[in-house]
């Protein structure tokens, strides 16, 4: 897409997304615009030149603090429904907030650790999903059932049978010392709903108790959306409790007030459990080797968005499947 002409009056470039057109074509009333959101995907707030900036405030005064931001060129609208509005503007009635909650992957305690293997795994940032039982057994055979390399390796055919940690946990809270972790997050900032988006061709969302979760809808790009609330099955949304003692530093991945926590795991779809089709079509070039076995690999992302604050986190997932039966 090109940039919009910003030399004159402010104009709006509006298009229907591919999903919008698809629903319009269906003619079943599913094209129903009922709400709006504002986004600022192009904005890099680190360019804001106040005293927080590494180079200090703008020399010409505070009126110039956002000069660079206001000159940001804006891309034309993209019709793919998942390509935009990644960062939304947020309405919060209190204007004196100095800190906002963030969401972080909780990897500090057992049961939630990510995979640390830098050769074939997700390099300490994400999880490894094994597509089928045979492939998982190959890995166990090669590494041994107690290998630390099995942290964050999920047996996609049955996550409950994973040897080590296989639950993905995302904690919400304030990452600042200014708000004590002994105090709960302000109720206004507490997430009431999480939206999990995953590629439906590869992944099935499972509860922390390893039960399948039904998606709310699948879009035209095969991205399934799951709306998870406290009422969802299997305690997927948990209230984080304030710490009691100062030495409880490992309770949360952030320093300040805790909010909500989302916990889930992943299963492999029938597509990747039964076939290597998607691995050869969309997977990485070459194979990865674990011991004497080789595996196809495919990288994808599970996106979690807080419906209240709009904060978003992408969790890298590497899917592996043995090249041999």
């Amino acid at each position: 897409m090109g940039f919009l002409d910003n030399s004159g009056d402010i104009i709006l470039d509006a298009v229907l997304t591919d999903t919008g057109r698809m629903r319009l074509a269906k003619g079943d009333g599913s094209f129903n615009i009922s709400k709006f959101a504002l986004g600022d995907d192009e904005i890099d707030y680190s360019l804001y030149r106040n005293n927080n900036h590494p180079d200090g405030a703008h020399a010409n005064g505070s009126a110039y603090a956002d000069l660079t931001i206001l000159q940001s060129p804006i891309l034309e609208a993209i019709t793919n429904n998942t390509s935009q509005l990644h960062s939304k503007l947020v309405t919060i009635s209190q204007l004196n907030l100095f800190d906002l909650p963030i969401m972080l992957l909780h990897t500090k305690t057992g049961g939630f650790k990510v995979n640390t293997n830098t050769t074939w795994g997700a390099s300490g940032q994400g999880y490894v999903l094994i597509s089928d039982e045979t492939s998982y057994n190959h890995i166990i055979t090669e590494l041994g059932a107690t290998s630390v390399l099995l942290e964050g390796v999920i047996n996609g055919s049955n996550p409950a049978l994973s040897q080590l940690s296989h639950t993905i946990r995302i904690d919400q809270g304030l990452d600042t010392n200014a708000n004590s972790a002994k105090k709960k997050l302000d109720a206004n900032l507490m997430e009431s709903q999480f939206i999990v988006e995953a590629d439906n061709r590869f992944i099935k969302l499972m509860s922390a108790q390893n039960n399948p979760v039904n998606f709310n809808f699948v879009d035209d790009d095969q991205i399934a959306s799951y709306f998870i609330t406290a009422a969802s099955q299997g305690g997927m949304v948990v209230d984080l409790q304030p710490i009691q003692n100062d030495n409880e530093t490992n309770n949360y991945p952030f320093k300040g007030s805790p909010g909500k926590s989302l916990r889930f795991t992943l299963g492999s779809s029938d597509n990747i459990a039964d076939s290597s089709y998607y691995f050869t079509l969309l997977g990485n070039t070459g194979t990865v080797t674990i011991g004497t076995k080789t595996f196809y690999s495919l990288d994808t992302v599970v996106r979690v968005t807080g419906a209240t604050t709009g904060y978003k986190i992408d969790i890298p997932i590497r899917v592996l499947r043995s090249t041999t039966a």
Binding site: L38, N52, L70, T91, D219
Partner: protein, 352 residues
Amino acid sequence: MATTFKQLGQNDVTNTRTQLHEAIPMTGSLLSGTYGSFKSETNVKNFSHGMFQSVYDYPYLSSSANHIVDITMGYTTGSNNTTTHKQNGKKVQVYNQMAQVLMGHDVSGNIQQFDRDGNILAGGTKHKEVYFLSFSRLLVKDEIKKGTFSLTMMTGGGVGNPGTLNNDGSPLVLTDLNANTDFRVNSPAGEYGILYSGSTAQTSSAMGLIYYQAGIVVLTSSIFGTSSFATSSYAGGMVPVKKALTGTTIQENCNFIRHRIANISFNNTTELNSTIYFCRANHNEFNYSSNPSYLSGSRIRVKEKASDNPNSYITTIGLYSPDNELLAVAKTSEPIKKTPANEFTLRVRLDY
């Protein structure tokens, strides 16, 4: 409670219908002479069935070419048709096909002939030998705007250089005079007007019909009077119009008329059905952002102290379904600063 969505209320959505007009100028040189020599133009497509000829704005084998007009001709069985005439059956077929679409049938089920003044019930003069110019939807869009059509032709005894009028003396200019207030509605194909050759709308100067929604012009062969057409090439031998109609193919006749068109112009009409969404960002809304760069840790970058006003920058407006699917998206041409000290109504119009 923090939120990222705002519901659109009943007063935030409205529907409008507007008409958009574009001027469509078409020079004669485009129809004949620009892309190759006469009859061999690469922007003119002939078909093996020989029933019409298509004109493009660029050599038609190129993917850049746009279809602009189809030309054909025909005469009615009430004319002096004989089976010995060249393509006699096809010429009658074309006339009848166009007539039944544009004029319809009478109470007995017979195809109505093209009527000179549109007063079908009164009988009167019929256009029995006609040329058809059928403009592409790309140009016509929803319809030709009434009162804007003009066709300039060389109809004299000689044939000038392609696209010029110098050998013809005064050109024939046909317009749909006063058609914005004076048009006919007794056609199954929508509204139509009369093409007049003079500056006054009188029956004696009615030379054709223009069907606005169908984008079709019907020209009587009488516009050429006793003039002659060139045959094998424009510099070659000449044949009278009547002989051309009967003794040459439809394709040849299309060449003749295409070669004599000096200029065509009209305005098209596009009916825009729009839904306008008024996205109102009040002073106390959308002042924070979930952009990862908005925070350093959890600290808001644009604030130096808690009492500072928050601010954000709008670049995108997303319109969502109740199940949070992004159905439409709009971009601002530059970031718009949102603070608690300002309010915006962003007007997003979707055209259908």
